[in-house]
Symmetry: D2
Subunit: 370 residues, 4 copies
Amino acid sequence: MTAIRAAVSADIRRTEVREFASPAIPADGGLLRVELCGVCGSDWPYYLKYPKSKGPLILGHETVGTVAQLGSVAAQRFGVKEGDRVALEEYLPCGHCAYCRGGDFRLCDETDTLNRLGTVRYGSTPVGHSPSLWGGYSQYQYLHPNSVFHRVPDNLSAELATLALPLGNGVEWAYLQGKVGVGECIVIQGPGQQGLACVVAAKEAGANPIIVSGLGTPTDQRRLALAKRLGAHHTINVEQQDLLDTVSTITGGAMADVVIDCASGGPWTVVSAIQLARKGGRILIGGRKGAPVPQFDVDVLFTRFLSVKGMRGHSYQAVELGLQILASRKYPLEDMCTHTFDLEAVDEALRTVGGEGKPDAIHCSVNPWR
Amino acid sequence: MTAIRAAVSADIRRTEVREFASPAIPADGGLLRVELCGVCGSDWPYYLKYPKSKGPLILGHETVGTVAQLGSVAAQRFGVKEGDRVALEEYLPCGHCAYCRGGDFRLCDETDTLNRLGTVRYGSTPVGHSPSLWGGYSQYQYLHPNSVFHRVPDNLSAELATLALPLGNGVEWAYLQGKVGVGECIVIQGPGQQGLACVVAAKEAGANPIIVSGLGTPTDQRRLALAKRLGAHHTINVEQQDLLDTVSTITGGAMADVVIDCASGGPWTVVSAIQLARKGGRILIGGRKGAPVPQFDVDVLFTRFLSVKGMRGHSYQAVELGLQILASRKYPLEDMCTHTFDLEAVDEALRTVGGEGKPDAIHCSVNPWR
Amino acid sequence: MTAIRAAVSADIRRTEVREFASPAIPADGGLLRVELCGVCGSDWPYYLKYPKSKGPLILGHETVGTVAQLGSVAAQRFGVKEGDRVALEEYLPCGHCAYCRGGDFRLCDETDTLNRLGTVRYGSTPVGHSPSLWGGYSQYQYLHPNSVFHRVPDNLSAELATLALPLGNGVEWAYLQGKVGVGECIVIQGPGQQGLACVVAAKEAGANPIIVSGLGTPTDQRRLALAKRLGAHHTINVEQQDLLDTVSTITGGAMADVVIDCASGGPWTVVSAIQLARKGGRILIGGRKGAPVPQFDVDVLFTRFLSVKGMRGHSYQAVELGLQILASRKYPLEDMCTHTFDLEAVDEALRTVGGEGKPDAIHCSVNPWR
Amino acid sequence: MTAIRAAVSADIRRTEVREFASPAIPADGGLLRVELCGVCGSDWPYYLKYPKSKGPLILGHETVGTVAQLGSVAAQRFGVKEGDRVALEEYLPCGHCAYCRGGDFRLCDETDTLNRLGTVRYGSTPVGHSPSLWGGYSQYQYLHPNSVFHRVPDNLSAELATLALPLGNGVEWAYLQGKVGVGECIVIQGPGQQGLACVVAAKEAGANPIIVSGLGTPTDQRRLALAKRLGAHHTINVEQQDLLDTVSTITGGAMADVVIDCASGGPWTVVSAIQLARKGGRILIGGRKGAPVPQFDVDVLFTRFLSVKGMRGHSYQAVELGLQILASRKYPLEDMCTHTFDLEAVDEALRTVGGEGKPDAIHCSVNPWR
C-alpha cells in the first residue's frame, strides 16, 4: 500500500492533509478502506476545541467503508470479513462492563469522551495515540478491537449510508427513548440533520401529527420544506408564528405528547420544549446547549407531571433500524445529502456544518479519494 | 342526625369549628362518617393561600371513615355499602376522559387543582360550594359521585390507615414511577413523611442500598433514625457530611440509580439530586420547590444521560399497595403517627406540619370526635 | 316516540323483528338512537348458543349512534350530551375495581361474559333483563350507567365508524399488546376483519415486513388482496405455498418477531404460529379456537424463548386510536365495509359473518332504519 | 504445571478421571484454576445423552475459580487480570450479533446448543474439540475469548458462589422476565434449586404472598421447609392438599399474578400453572418438560387473557444481582449447598441431581482438588 492520505486538524480551524504509512495491524485489529465519511454536528465543537486540548487529530466518525485487512484474532471475532462493506459506530466499548453486557454500550466508560479524559473513540482521538488513524476523514481508518460494525447493503449509496448514525440518533431519540407511538403528537424543535432524522423516526412509528419548528432563515426554510417531504404534517416558522399558540391550534389545545429539542441556539429552546408538552408529556433534549437555563421553573415538572431526559447517541438497534429505513427507500433521504467535500476541503466542510459555510447544506460528507 | 361539626379555615392561619346541618344526599352521592383524617404536607400551602383565594374551606384529604349514607344510584355504583370502612383519595375524577379510562385518573382535568381554577377536590374546595363538606377535618364528609374508595381492613388502626395516601405517594414515586428495583441504589433527600414513605416503598422493591439525607436539626435527626428503622441502610446528615462524597464512598463511586428529592427547603436540592445520579440515572422531583433553579445546567442531562421527572400524587394501585403494606405489619409505621389533634386544634396541627409547631411530629391526624 | 323496532334472536338461527315500547330512562341511564351497528365475528357463536342458554336477545355490539336521551345523573357523568354522535364499546365495566381503576376495564368481572354467567354486556344480554334494549340490531339501544363512549367525528361515515371496535382490536393486539414496532416482521394468520385490522395497526406502527396468510378460497383471496391495499408487504396462500418456507425466504431465515393468529379454522394455526416465530418472538392468539391443541409441544417455548398470549378485546386507547386512524383516511378501509343489512335481514347478516352467506363479505353492518 | 485432572463423561452414566496436559493458550484466550463447580439440573439430561451424541466431554458449567493465565489480547479485553476470582457463565456469545449488542447474549446463535448442533458452550462441548477443557469438573478450565465473567468477592465462600447461576436464573425468571412486583402473588411449582432461587428473587422483589408447591416425598418436604426459611409465605404439599383450592383460599379467590413452573415431572404442571393464574396473569415455564401437553386448552389463554412464556437461562444483570444477593447474606442460602463431591465422585454427583442419589440434596458441587 502506498501512503495513506488523511485530513489532520492540526490546530483550531486549520486542517491539513498529511500522509501516513500503513500501520502494522495487530492480531485483534484491522484496517478499513474509507469510502465516505459523514460530518456530524458534534464535529464543529470538536473542531473548535480538540486540536488544542487533545492535540492534532483526524476528525470524522460517520464512516462507511470496506474491510481491507483483519488480524487473525479479529477475523474470528469481528463478525465481518475482508471485503465486507460496513458502517462504523463512533464508540469503542469495552464489551465486558455492565453497560456493554446489558445493551447500553454507548454509556461504557471506556469510550465516554464526555465524562472522562483520554478515552478512545473514533473521530476524537489524537494522532499521537498509535496508530493515529482514528478518524474518518482519511483514506483508511484503523479498526480497533472494540469496533462496532453494521453491514451496509451493496445497493445503498455511500451518501445515504453515511446517514446511518444521524438516522440512528433519530430512531433512538424519538422512538426508542421518546417512545413516540401511533397517533401521538410530536414537536421537533430545530430542522437540522438530527431534527430531520427525528421526523423520519417519528413517521415510521406512526406519530401524528408531527410538527417541526425552525427559524425564518433561508437555511431553516429549506430544511422545513424537506421536513414536510419527509413526513412532517406541519412546520412552524417561529419568527412569524407563535410557537405555543400554533401547536395549541393544531392539537385542539391538547399540546404535544413528546417534544424533542434539536435546536442549537442556546438554552431557551429547553424552556419552550417544556411549555409545548401536554400534562404527562415527555421532553427530550438532543445535545448540548452550551449554557445553563437561567431561572429554570422546576415546579412545572411537578404541576404538569413532565419528564425531561437528555439524549445521547444511539444504540446498536437504532443504527440497524436506521439502515433498514434507508434501504427501504420510503423517504427522500437523498435530499438530506447536500454536499460532498474532498480531503483538501475538510475545513470548508466543517465550517459548513458549523453554519459558516454553504447555507443550503444539511448533511455533508468527505470523500477521501476524490 | 344532629349538627355536623367541622373545622373551617375561615381565613389564612385561622380555623374555627362550625356546625353544619346534615346535607341532602343526591341519588348519586353519599355521606362518610369521618373516623380520622391525616394532615398532608400540601395542607400547609393550602392553609396559607386558599382561604383567601378560594374562600373559607374545610381542609383535610387523607380521610378514613365509614360509609354512613348512600343515594340509590351511588349504592349501585360505588362498590361500597353503608357500614363499609374506607379510605378516600383526594381526587374526584370524571371517569370518562382518556386519563381516567387509561388508569391515570389523577391527571384528570376535572379534579386538577394545580392547572385549573375552580375544580373540585377533597380538602381544597370552599364551603361555598354546595354541600360544603368537602374536607376531612369534619365529623362527616360528603361523598361526591366521583369518589375513589379503598377498603380498609377492620384490624388496621385509623392512625395507620391515614398513611394510605402518603404511603401511596411513596409507592408511586419510588416504585411505580421511579421503577427502583432489586439491588439498585436509591438516595432519598428529605426525611419527611414523603421521604419516609419512599424508604418503605424502596425497601419493598428490593432497593439496596437505600440512603436518606437530612439536616442536622433534632427534627431531621429523629426522622433519619426512623428511616433506619424503616429499612434505610445509610443516613446522611448533610450539615456534617459531604452528601456527594458520602454517597460516592457508600457506592464505591457508582452513585445512585434513582434519586428522589423530597426535601422542602427550596430549589437547591434539585441540583444535588442531579449530581447524585449515576450515568443513565433517574431523578424524581417530589413536589413543589417554590422557586426556580438559578442557572440550571441542562447539559449535564445530556452528558450523563439523565432523566428528571416531576412527581404528582398516586395511582389507585399505589394506594392499594400502600394499604397492603400497612396491613402486613412489616414496618414500624406506627412510629410515623406522632400526633392526633382535636377539631379545635386544627390550627396547631397545620402549623405543626408547616414546621411551626411540635418539633417531633412526622405524620399528624385530626380526630373530629374527640 | 313510537314503538322501537329491534331484531330479536328468538331461537338459535332464528331472528324476528319485534317492537318495544320506549323504556323509562333512569336518572343515571340514557337512550341511543342507533345509526348503524357492525356485525362482529363473535356474533356467530353467540347466534348459535345464546338464544338457548340465555334466552332471546338483541345481538349487535359495534354500535354507532346519537345520544337521544339522558337521565339527570347521566347528563353529569357520561361526558356526552344529547345529540352527540358516539361509538359504544360492548363493555359495561363497574368503574371502581382494580381493573377499572388501572385502565384495564375490559377485564372487569362485572362485564366478563366469558368467565361469569349472568353478567351484563351490550349485544349478549337477554331481552328478559330490563329494559331489554341491550343490542345494536335495534333502532334504539339503552345507555347503561356504565357505558363507555367514544366521540365520532361528523364527517366519518357510519360504515367506517362501525370499524372502531374491530380496528381497536387490531391496535390492541398488534400494537399495544404485541408491541410490534418499527422494522419488525409480523405474520398475521387469517385475513378476516380482525386480521385486516391487525395489518392496519402494524402498518401504523412501522412493522416491516407485514405478511398475511390465508386460504386459497375466493373469499380469502379477495381478503388477501385487500390486505395488500391496506399495507401488507406479502400475502401467502397456504394451499399453494409452504407457510414456513415462504416466511423464511422473505425474512432471510430470521422468521417473525410477532405472529398473530387470527384464523378461525381450529387449533392447528396455533402450532404454525409458534413455528413462525423467531427465537425470542411473541405469539398472540386472537380469539377462540374451539378445540384443544393435541400434543402441544411446550418445550419449544423453552428452547426458543417464546411467549404465547391470548388476546381479548380492546382498551379505551385502542378504540380511540382506531377512530383516529379511520379519520385520517390513510387506508382504504371503506373496502372492508362490504354489506349493510336491514333489520329484517339480520339472520342473513349473521350467516354471512359465519361463512354461510355472501362469500365476498368482510365487515357487515345492520341499519335498523332502512 | 503438572497434568490437569478432569472428570470426563466417557459414556452415558460413566465418568472417569483423566489427565490432560496444560494447553497452549492463544493470545485471546486464558486458563482458569477451578475452585468449585456447581451441578446444574441440566447436567442430568446432558449426562444421559451427550457422551453418545457429542462424544466424551467434561460436564460442569457453574464454575467459580481464579484466573490463572491470560493471553496478551485477552489481558486487554477480558476486564479481568490474573489472580482475579470469578464466576463464569456457560455461554460463549459472539459479541457482535444483534442479540449480543442488545443485551440478550444468551440467545446468541453462536452458543445456542438447543437450536444448533456443534455450537460451543462450557460444560457441553466434547473433549475432541480443542483444547478439550470446556467443563468445570476439572482442575483447570480453558478461557475461551468469548467468556463472560463475573467478579466474586473474596469473602463469599466457593459453595455460595456456585449458586450465582442458579440464583441468576431465579432473578431472571421471577423478576426480570416474570416482572413479579411488590404485593403480587406468585406461585412457584417445584421446590428444586430453580424453584428455591425463584423464591429468593420473588422475596427480593417484594412479592407477597409467595407460595411454593411440591410433592409429599421427604426430599420435597425438606425443600419446602427451606423455601419457608428463604421467605415463602406458604407451602403446599400437592399430595395432601388440592393445589387450586389452597391457592384460592390463600388469595381470597384472586389466584396468582405470576406462576412459575419449575417442576420436573412432565407436562402436567403446565396445565395446573395455567389454572393457577388470575385473569391477566403471567405463566412462566422454567425448563424442559420432556413431553407434549395432551389436549392443550389454548382457549383459556383467550378467555382469561393469559400469557405463557418459556424461560431460558439468565442475563448478565441477573447473575450480577444473584451475586449481590449472595453477598448480602440476607438469606440462608448456605442451606441450599448440601453436598460437595470429589472428581472421582462425579457420577454420584450427577445421579444425585438426577434424583437417583442422596435424597437430601439440593445444590451439589464438585471440588476438583479434594
